[in-house]
C-alpha cells in the first residue's frame, strides 16, 4: 500500500462512524442476536478505534494541521455535515473504546435474562454510537443531535430494569436532560440566527462578543452543566446513577458525563474563549471547591455502596471546575483537565463495575450489611481499592499523574502571584484525603473480623472485568506523556 496514513485517515473516520451506526441498527432490527452483535461488535469497535489512533498519530505531527475534517457526501461547511477529528477527540474516543469494551464484556455476564438482553444491547450500542458521533462532530447542530441520541438511550437504560426506583430515577433524569437539551438548542439557534453558520471552526472565526453571544454562551453552558452534573446543577446525578444497573452506571459516570464536559471545553476553547474573564474563572473555581466538599461529604455519609460512588463523581468533577481558573493563568492547563477526566472515567467505571458485582452477589447494596460479601470477594474488593487509589490520586496510578499535573498548575498560579491559588492548591491536595475517606469506607469492612459469604454466584466476566479495568486505570499512569502529546495535536488550542 502506497497510501500515506494522512490519506487513509478520512476513510477511517467515516468507517468508524459507519461501524458504530451499523452495529446499533443491526442490534435494533435483530434483537434476538443483539448480545452476540454487541459482544463481537465491541471488540471490533475498540480495534477500529485503536487503528484510527495509530493512523492519527502517524499522520498528524504538525499541531496546526492535525485536525482532519471530512465532509460527508462531499458537501462542505456551512452547508454539509462535517466530521472533525483532532487530538482532543482522539483521546476521548480511545477512552470511550476502552470503557465501552469493558462495559460490554461485563454486560455479557450481568444482563443474562433473554428479554432484558434484547432491550439492553440495542440501547447500549446506540449510546456508544452517539458518543462516537458526539466526539467526531464538527458543527453545533450535529453536536446537538448526537447529544440527544446519547441522552435518550441513557434515559432508557436507566429505566430498563423496570423497578419503581429505576423508573422514577429515569423520569427525573429525562426531565433534566430535556431541560438541558432545550437550553443548549436555544443557544445554538441564537448563534445560527446571528451568524448563519453552525460549524464550530467557522463560528470561532466570526465571533465578536455581543449580547447575543453572551446569551448563547450562558444558555449552552447551563444546559451542558446540567447534563454534566456540574455543581450546583448536580442534584439529579446520585439518584439516577445510583439506581441504574451497574454497567449503565459505569457508562453514565465514566463516559456520558465526560461527553457533556467535553462539549463545554470545546465551546469555551473555541467560540466562547473571549468571554472568559478572571472574575468568571474564580467564580467557577469556587463552585468547584463547593462541589468537591459537598460531594465528598455526601459520599462520606451515604449508607449505600453505589450512591457513595455516584457522589464521588460529583466531588471529582469539582476538580474540573477548579481547573477553570488555572486555565486562565496557564492556557496549556486544559490538557491537564482532559487527562484528569480520562483517568477519572477509567477509575470510576471500574469502581462502578466492582460495586455492581458486589451488589449482585449480596442482592442489595447497603454497606452496613455487606461485610460478609466484601470479606469473601477479595478480587472485587481489590479492584475497588485499586481504582479507589486512582481516585485518591496516589501512585502508581493514572490518578497520581493527573493529581501531579493539577497541583503543578495550581502552584504555578501561586508563583504567578495569585493569592487565591492557595485555595485551589489546598482543595486539590485536600480532596485526595476526602477521597481516601470514602474509598476506605467501601474497602475497610473487608478487613473486619467476621463471617464470610460469597453470596450469589457471579459470572467470570463480572469477576474479572472490574479488576482488568482497574489495572488499566492504574497503568494510565504511564500514558501521561503520550496523552499530553496527543492533546497538543489540537489546532487552535493553546
Amino acid at each position: 500500500m502506497s497510501e500515506t496514513p494522512a490519506a487513509m485517515l478520512p476513510l477511517a473516520i467515516s468507517g468508524l462512524v459507519a461501524l458504530s451506526l451499523a452495529l446499533a441498527i443491526l442490534a435494533t432490527i435483530w434483537p434476538r442476536q443483539a448480545h452476540r452483535i454487541g459482544g463481537y461488535g465491541a471488540v471490533l469497535m475498540t480495534a477500529a478505534v485503536v487503528v484510527l489512533s495509530a493512523l492519527f498519530l502517524a499522520a498528524g505531527p504538525d499541531p496546526e494541521s492535525a485536525a482532519t475534517r471530512v465532509a460527508l457526501g462531499g458537501w462542505e461547511a456551512p452547508l454539509g455535515v462535517m466530521l472533525h477529528l483532532d487530538g482532543l477527540s482522539m483521546t476521548l474516543l480511545v477512552l470511550t473504546g476502552v470503557v465501552g469494551l469493558a462495559t460490554s464484556l461485563y454486560s455479557l455476564g450481568y444482563v443474562h435474562d433473554p428479554i432484558e438482553r434484547r432491550q439492553f444491547w440495542p440501547l447500549w450500542l446506540w449510546l456508544w454510537a452517539g458518543l462516537n458521533m458526539l466526539l467526531l462532530s464538527g458543527d453545533a447542530f450535529n453536536l446537538y443531535i448526537s447529544l440527544e441520541v446519547v441522552s435518550l438511550s441513557a434515559v432508557a437504560l436507566v429505566a430498563f430494569t423496570g423497578t419503581a426506583a429505576a423508573v422514577s430515577g429515569a423520569m427525573r433524569y429525562m426531565l433534566i436532560n430535556i431541560l438541558g437539551s432545550l437550553s443548549f438548542l436555544m443557544g445554538v439557534v441564537l448563534l445560527f440566527g446571528e451568524h448563519g453558520v453552525l460549524d464550530l471552526v467557522l463560528l470561532e472565526a466570526r465571533t465578536e462578543i455581543g449580547p447575543t453571544e453572551r446569551m448563547a454562551a450562558v444558555l449552552m453552558t447551563a444546559g451542558l452543566m446540567l447534563k454534566a452534573a456540574l455543581f450546583p446543577l448536580h442534584v439529579w446525578l446520585a439518584p439516577a446513577h445510583g439506581s441504574a444497573p451497574a454497567p449503565v452506571s459505569a457508562v453514565l459516570s465514566g463516559l456520558v458525563v465526560t461527553g457533556s464536559f467535553y462539549l463545554i471545553l470545546r465551546l469555551w476553547m473555541g467560540p466562547f474563549a473571549p468571554l472568559a474573564t478572571p472574575a468568571f474563572g474564580i467564580l467557577v473555581g469556587l463552585l468547584g471547591v463547593a462541589a468537591l466538599v459537598w460531594g465528598s461529604a455526601q459520599a462520606l455519609r451515604s449508607g449505600r455502596l453505589k450512591s457513595i460512588v455516584a457522589y464521588s463523581t460529583v466531588a471529582q468533577f469539582g476538580y474540573l471546575l477548579i481547573a477553570f481558573p488555572l486555565m486562565l493563568v496557564d492556557s496549556g492547563a486544559w490538557r491537564v483537565v482532559v487527562f484528569f477526566a480520562v483517568v477519572h472515567a477509567l477509575a470510576k467505571a471500574s469502581v462502578f463495575l466492582a460495586a455492581g458485582t458486589l451488589q449482585h452477589a449480596a442482592g442489595h447494596d447497603r454497606l452496613a450489611d455487606m461485610g460478609a460479601i466484601l470479606r469473601a470477594r477479595g478480587r472485587t474488593v481489590f479492584a475497588l481499592g485499586l481504582a479507589g487509589v486512582s481516585l485518591m490520586g496516589l501512585p502508581f496510578t493514572g490518578g497520581f499523574i493527573a493529581k501531579y499535573l493539577l497541583l503543578e498548575a495550581g502552584l504555578s498560579t501561586i508563583l504567578a502571584g495569585s493569592l487565591i491559588g492557595v485555595l485551589w492548591v489546598s482543595a486539590i491536595a485536600g480532596g485526595g484525603l476526602l477521597a481516601a475517606g470514602y474509598v476506605l469506607r467501601m474497602v475497610a469492612p473487608a478487613f473486619h473480623r467476621g463471617p464470610r459469604d460469597a453470596g450469589e454466584a457471579v459470572s467470570p466476566w463480572m469477576d474479572w472485568v472490574p479488576l482488568g479495568l482497574a489495572v488499566v486505570a492504574a497503568a494510565a499512569g504511564f500514558a501521561g506523556t503520550l496523552t499530553l502529546h496527543t492533546l497538543t495535536l489540537t489546532p487552535g488550542a493553546p
Partner: protein, 507 residues
Amino acid sequence: MTDGGWLLLAILMSSLGPGLAIFFLPERRYGLRTLLNLGGAGTKLVLVGWLLLGVLRGDEYQLSIPLLPGIDFVLAADALSLLFATLSAVLWFVTTVYAIGYLEGSPRRSRFFGFFSLCVSATVGIALSGNLITLLIFYELLTLATWPLVVHRGTPAALRAGRLYLAYTLTSGLVLFTAIVWLTLLAGAESFVPGGYLGELATTHETTLKVLFVMLMIGFGVKAALVPLHSWLPIAMVAPAPVSALLHAVAVVKAGAFGIVRVVNDVYGAEVTMELGLAAGLVVVAAITILYGSIQALRTDDLKQRLAFSTVSQVSYIVLGVALAGPLGVIGGLVHLVHQGITKITLFFCAGNFAETLGIHKISELDGVGRRMPLTMLAFTLGALGMIGLPPLAGFVTKWHLGLGALEAQFHWVLAVLIVSSLLNAAYFLPPVIRGWLGERRTSWHERMVEHSGPTRFETHWMLLVPTMFVAALSLLGGLLAGMSLSPLDWVTLIVERDYSIPGFAP
C-alpha cells in the same frame, strides 16, 4: 537504559512479582506460597549482593523511564541506596521466615503475604529511587501497602490503629506531594546528587526554600515518628509481631529517616541546609524526640508499646547525626540506620516469641521467663544492651560516633542529651532484662503455643527461634566486627567518602 538498569528492575520485581502472584493463590496452597515467599526473598538477597559488589567496584546503575514531559521515573544505585537496600533485603528474608512460623494456621495468609511483599518492594524502591518524584511514588505506595498489614487482625483496635495510621501518613503525604511538586517547578526534576541541586536558588528564594524544607520534614517526619508527629506509631503496635518488626526496623520508620537523609544530602546539600539555619532546627527537633520517646517508654508497662516508644527515640539518632552534618556525626547517624534496624527487630521478635509461646504481653509478667525460654531471653538481653549502647554491641558504635560528631559540630549540649538518653534507655530496658533472668515465677506458665499446636522441640517453634537468634547475632557482630571491611560501619565510611558532601571536609 544502561545494562545495569535491568538489575535494579529485577531487584524491584523479585518481591513485586511473587507478591502479586500470592494474592491470587488459594489459602490452602501453603507449599507454593512459602516457595514464592522464600524464593522471592532469596532472589532479592542474591541480586542485592550482586549490586553491592558492583557499586563497590564503582559501576554505575541507572534506569530512567519518562513519566511526563521533563519528568522521569529514575531508579539509581549509589552507596547510600545500598545501605538501605541491603538492610531491607536481609531483614525481609529473616522476617519472612519468622512470619511463616508466626502465622501458621491463621486465616488470610495469602492476603497478608501479598501485601507484605508489596511493602518490601516499596521499601527497596525507596532505597533505589534516583529522584524525589520516584521516592514519593514508592513512599506513598508504602503507606498503602502497610495499611492492610496494620489492620490484618480485623479487631476494632486494629482498625482504629489503621485509621490513625492512614490519617497521619496520607495527610503528611499530601504535604510532601505539594512540596515536591513545588520544588520541581522551581528547580526541575533533577536526580539526586551529593551536595544538592538547589545552587543559586539558595540566595534568591531563601524563604521559599525554608518553607519547603519544613514541608518536606513534615512529610518524612511522620513516618520517621519525629515528635510531635509520632502518635500513630505506639498505637500501630497492635499489628502482628512480624508487621511491627517491619514497621519499626525495616520499612516505615526507616523510609522516613531515609527520606530525610536524601533531602539533606542530595537535594538541599549539607551546606545549604546549614546556611539557611535548617540543620540547627533539625538537631533540636531530633533531640526533643530522643528524650520524649525515652520518657514515654519508661511510663508504659506493655512490652510492645515500650519498644514502640523506644523506636520513636532511636530513629531520631539517625536524624540527629545527619543534621549535625560533620563527617563523624553523619557516620553515626547513617550507621544507626542499620544498627537500630537489627537491634530493634531482635527485640520485636523476642516480644512476639513471648506473646505467642506464653501469652506474655506486659513487662510485669516477665518474671522468670529466662528459665523457660533462655535463648529468646538471651537475644532480648543482647538487643536491650545494644539499644543502651554498651560496648561492644552495635549501639555503642553509633553513640560513640554521634558523641564525637556533636563535639566536632560544636553542639556541646547534644552530648548531654546523648548521656541522658542512654541513662533513660538503661532505665527502661534493664527492668525487663532483670525480671526475666532474676525474677521468680510462682505459678506455672500459660503454655499458649503447646495448647494450640502441640509440644515443640525447642523452647518455641523453630521458625520463630532461628530468625530471632540470627538477628541477635547480627546485632552482636555489627558491633564486634565494626572494623572489618563490608561491616555497616565500613560501608557508611565509604558513603561518607564517596557520596556525601560535607562542607569543609573534602574527602
